[in-house]
């Protein structure tokens, strides 16, 4: 009986494993990313239980298969599910009552010796080009200040509400994710080029806007000198009716020395027709084993109105006790200067974790 069952098990295993001549691999993975955020806007303070929008709670299916000799076809399906996203909560609305499943990536791709062609919803060619960062602390802070506390409003001394932090201090990282076709070249000595073209929705009619982007990326290991990674890119999106096209140019560069010391820089300029808004970023850090610390400084000019200037200074510590677990602490202080208007500084403290499952 034992032998008969074993033989049957082997037969089933053999039948399963030889069912298809093509190798197909499907993976399911994800992460939980939560934190407690404390905010003081100069008028009052609150605590928030948030989903860390630096790297949100999400899960992903991927599948790849050999389509023909030398050509791999694949799919990526990634969604996020955030309860009280750290970039949206404010002192009036401290939770989101009914979180939604939001699309992030819905891609089909073909990859071979001539590069990778991607169709679907996902990163534009330049997306992330302002966020290249080797510090090991990006779960706590990176070039974009807005994902943590972006919905918090600056307050005037009398308590009146001003612009949100995210509206005056974004990193202008091109066009993010949208429905597009994208082509990435193979890597040549660490360099690769990407282009994309697609359609993105805005809130002002015409809602759907044509977008195109391009970016040059680099990642090289210089041994004793350390690792260097960076990107430069540009994007263009159709503007509001009667307005010029929305154009962004910029990039970032990050260097990680073998000692663990690291430096990161970013810069973008965005042509908004009546004004050009800019963003500049610098970060210095150190990482050793399971520990990483960093200090950063961000400046945004004319992002919400001509003449405004916002800045933020941040400090973070990330502890990685296991490859799938990160714990972090973040402190940052942001200020906004507008001609003729005074605003209180905003202070944000956060403790959080990301667990990959």
């Amino acid at each position: 009986m034992l032998l008969r069952n074993s033989a049957l098990a082997v037969a089933v295993a053999l039948a399963t494993l030889s069912a298809s001549a093509q190798a197909i691999e499907i993976k399911l993975t994800g992460q939980m990313s939560r934190g407690i955020m404390f905010v003081d806007d100069g008028i009052g303070s609150d605590a928030f239980h948030v989903d860390n929008d630096n790297s949100s709670t999400r899960f992903r299916f991927t599948g790849t298969g050999q389509m023909s000799p030398g050509v791999t076809a694949g799919v990526v399906f990634e969604v996020e599910y955030q309860s009280a996203p750290s970039n949206l909560v404010d002192r009036t609305d401290r939770v989101t009552a009914s979180p939604d499943i939001d699309e992030r990536v819905m891609d089909a791709f073909f990859e071979g010796r001539y590069g990778r062609l991607t169709l679907g919803q996902g990163d534009g060619a330049a997306n992330g080009g302002v966020e290249v960062d080797l510090s090991g602390t990006t779960i706590a802070h990176f070039s974009d200040v807005a994902p943590i506390g972006g919905g918090i409003e600056f307050r005037m001394p009398g308590g009146a509400l001003g612009p949100e932090l995210g509206a005056v201090l974004g990193n202008q990282d091109f066009e993010s994710r949208y429905d597009r076709v994208r082509y990435d070249t193979p890597t040549f000595s660490g360099f690769s080029l990407a282009v994309s073209s697609g359609v993105k929705n805005e809130t002002v009619a015409p809602v759907s806007r044509d977008v195109w982007e391009t970016a040059l990326r680099y990642a090289g290991d210089f041994d004793a000198f350390g690792k260097l990674a960076g990107a430069v890119g540009m994007s263009q999106q159709d503007g509001d009716p009667g307005a010029v096209k929305d154009k962004t140019v910029g990039g970032s560069l990050s260097w990680l020395h073998g000692s663990g010391a690291n430096l990161t820089f970013g810069y973008t300029t965005r042509d908004r027709g009546a004004r050009d808004s800019t963003f500049a970023y610098a970060k210095a850090g150190y990482k050793a084993g399971k520990h990483a610390v960093s200090l950063d400084y961000t400046v945004g000019k004319a992002q919400s109105a001509a003449g405004d200037e916002a800045s933020a200074i941040g400090m973070a510590y990330v502890f990685t006790p296991a490859s799938w677990a990160e714990l972090f602490a973040l402190a940052k202080r942001a200020q906004l200067n507008q001609p003729g208007v005074a605003f209180e500084d905003v202070t944000i403290l956060m403790l959080g974790t990301r667990l990959k499952f």
């Binding site: 093509q22 990642a219 260097l228 677990a325």
Partner: protein, 78 residues
């Protein structure tokens, strides 16, 4: 004239390095997961991605014995 020369020098210097794959640390991390173990994902493979050894081989015999042991253990719990 100076800027293209600087860019060319930087590009040539860049070519001297070993390429590595940069991944944003704000994406789902590579590597093990606390539920998925070393694989880092729940993985389903079909086709010839996990080929079995030839039936006549020693490896196949060990595989068959292992499957038999698993079956015996399932049927004889402590």
């Amino acid at each position: 004239m100076r800027q293209p020369a600087i860019l060319l020098c930087l590009a040539l210097a860049g070519c001297a390095a070993r390429p590595f794959e940069y991944r944003s640390q704000n994406e789902i991390p590579e590597g093990p997961g606390f539920l998925t173990g070393e694989a880092g994902a729940f993985v389903l493979r079909t086709g010839d991605s996990v080929p079995l050894p030839p039936r006549e081989s020693e490896e196949y015999r060990e595989f068959r014995e292992w499957r038999e042991f698993q079956e015996w253990k399932r049927r004889n719990p402590r």
